[in-house]
Symmetry: C2
Subunit: 417 residues, 2 copies
């Protein structure tokens, strides 16, 4: 790819598409005509396989086989089966990952569980501006546990040095949801371990987009999202990683029956499964799981290093083209310029960010807005083309140059922005 100093030509991007080893995967997704979808980091696109898989779940497995499907169609095994498929995509062993609940619920489980691994410490360390639900969940846990927890929030630049001997758990999101800044997972985990702390990594903006090596980095606990880069559908269930060495010690506070060692014995006393299943809680939601499995299956056989490299290259082309072709627009890069510490999305700031994004969406370029002034563009490696980047920048340039985003209709805030 070209560098930021020399923006690519359209011919360069046509050539990049022709050379793209992942190009054929785009055909596995049902993308609408007239849309350049740069929001797969918020809601992944629909795999063509999903509708048929869910229809089979509904018509045959549920409608015809009914309750028997827990055995005959292995519904009961779905959370661990899909977890095992996610494992190689994040550098985990198959028995270290399971699908359950939402990212918010799983964060609560893991941080409460991690506190139990460090009974003589009470500090939970995170950064301000972390994805809000992460902060909110930690605040809720701290409120519930009172004196047992001290929530310590330190800016990114000070965080590493704040990992002291009193820290029980370090909770960070690997790729930042706004800026796409990427923590050095191995470095922070190593520092945490040196101080005697446990790490919980939120992989929501990483998994399925960047190469991850949880075991290589020594990560203790992690969780991530099913509906972003894994294309599991709106509100898809989340996944949980528990390193093998913690599986017998980690206690979930949400000790529902599916995490029991023998749920169908219907005994009165909770006895946790001694493995990753202890992170299950209630009855698994099979519609969401089935769609998530179809999404995860799109990654079968892919090299995550190649996936990351394409996402980074798409983002690099976008940054250099925006800076070259929309130079007087008032857009300011809000993501790292260097690709290495960046995730698979790119953010720019603009005081009229909301209206500009609405005008872009009206023209078929779908990104999203994050208050107060961030335009966020996701570069999903599986179904975006390099020429999509060119076309998106051309439309962005038009929207800015024409001032069409100043139309009153683009200023009206929708419920979800």
């Amino acid at each position: 790819m070209t560098t930021a100093a020399a923006p690519p030509t359209r011919a360069d991007l046509v050539a990049a598409d022709a050379a793209d080893s992942l190009a054929q995967i785009r055909g596995a997704f049902a993308l609408p005509d007239g849309v350049i979808y740069l929001d797969g980091n918020s809601l992944g696109a629909l795999p063509r396989a999903t509708a048929g898989r869910v229809a089979d779940l509904i018509d045959r497995q549920w409608g015809q086989d009914l309750i028997r499907s827990w055995n005959t169609n292995d519904w009961i095994g779905a959370p661990a089966r899909i977890g095992a498929k996610i494992a190689p995509l994040i550098g985990a062993m198959p028995h270290e990952v399971i699908v359950a609940d939402s990212t918010s619920v799983n964060l609560f489980k893991l941080v409460a569980g991690a506190l139990g691994l460090r009974p003589d410490r009470r500090v939970v360390l995170t950064e301000p501006g972390n994805f809000p639900t992460d902060l909110y969940i930690l605040q809720g846990l701290a409120r519930l546990l009172g004196e047992r927890v001290e929530l310590r929030v330190r800016p990114r630049a000070e965080l590493a040095s704040a990992i002291g001997e009193d820290v029980a758990v370090v909770v960070l999101t690997h790729v930042h949801y706004k800026s796409a800044e990427r923590w050095d997972m191995r470095d922070i985990t190593t520092r945490a371990h040196a101080a005697g702390a446990v790490t919980v990594w939120d992989l929501s903006h990483s998994a399925g987009a960047v190469e991850l090596d949880l075991n290589g980095a020594g990560v203790d606990l992690a969780l991530g999202c099913g509906y972003k880069y894994f294309n599991g559908g709106p509100g898809a269930p989340s996944f949980v990683f528990v390193a093998e060495r913690w599986q017998s010690a980690l206690v979930s506070p949400l000790s529902g029956w599916m995490g029991h060692a023998a749920p169908f014995d219907f005994g009165d006393d909770y006895r946790p499964a001694g493995d990753i299943r202890a992170q299950l809680c209630g009855t698994p939601g099979m519609l969401g799981l089935t769609a998530l499995e179809a999404g995860v299956d799109q990654f079968a056989g892919l090299n995550m290093a190649a996936v990351e490299a394409k996402g980074v290259a798409l983002g690099e082309a976008f940054i250099s083209l925006v800076e070259a072709r929309c130079s007087s627009s008032g857009l300011t890069l809000a993501s790292p310029r260097a690709p290495t510490p960046r995730g698979s999305h790119v953010s720019f700031r603009h005081p009229d960010g909301y209206a500009i994004m609405q005008a872009l969406i009206a023209r078929g370029v779908i990104g999203d807005f994050r208050a107060p002034d961030i335009l966020r563009f996701g570069f999903t490696p599986l179904y975006l083309r390099f020429t999509d980047v060119w076309d998106a920048v051309e439309i962005l340039r038009d929207v800015l140059a024409s001032g069409e985003y100043r139309q009153p209709r683009f200023a009206e805030r929708a419920a979800v922005t």
Copy 2:
């Protein structure tokens, strides 16, 4: 209907079907040929509308409209919209019910929240033999909170008198999952209030089957299941009821972003929605919600007293026919004989219960087994016929009389029993 003393004839049951005001609803369900489905209390049958609703969600709303659907297809409003549809079926106001998470997760939320309403008390009172996940979740909460909670478990016969001045929360399942015994919700709630306690009712085996009047009974908090009588599909999301008077005071320990007063402001500090939305946690799972809405929509316009009356009559016919026609079989009624304190399922005990149920399922009569010796038969009022009861009892009689259940293949335990 006939009484237990005089079992109905098949002609009586044909007449009962002809007179059944709910009979036409059966046509709205896709029931497999050759099956008498007596397990709708575990997994409700498939409404014919569901497949089309979910296909529209996937193909159009997700596939074509993508992220925009949170606004344009009102995904963001789905949890409250479906809650408002459930409300009249349980005697609640529309703004008192919302759909979120699993029953296990919701029980944790509500009991932790209820403890916060009684900061000077630490006893959580329940009964042994409650549905296991209820006990497990309470045990997990007690373990997490340590000295803050004393879990007190008292047998049903002693429970009312155990509601003392030190009790913070009474947690009971309205209809027992095994026996179908039904608590007097108004009586227990009144006693709890007299002692200064708060009530949390699990409606998993009641909602959609028996008439409920939560506000009439003065209930504080409740939750229930989407995948049993509401026919929301395997692992459908759960619903939560918070009486209006508690909505501003009740604090969910699972303070995820969807419960925030302004989730899309992306602020760092949690500020709960002042209404039922504060019980939301993570991003709602739209596949599960869409199927649940189709299931709940089957109840539109139905009178729940009529629904309950039919369920009770089906169960009464079953009991009297089993006792009359399988009299030397070794089956013992494990549910109340009188219909009023019974839910919509009927249980019998038999030492060979597992094998008998497997033999029945092989013959197309699908009920379920609950360890150690319970055969459980659900009588779902929306799609069962009185003649189904006759036919099921005839097959049960055959299975018992022939001894076919003694075949080795029926003794092999499946993963889910």
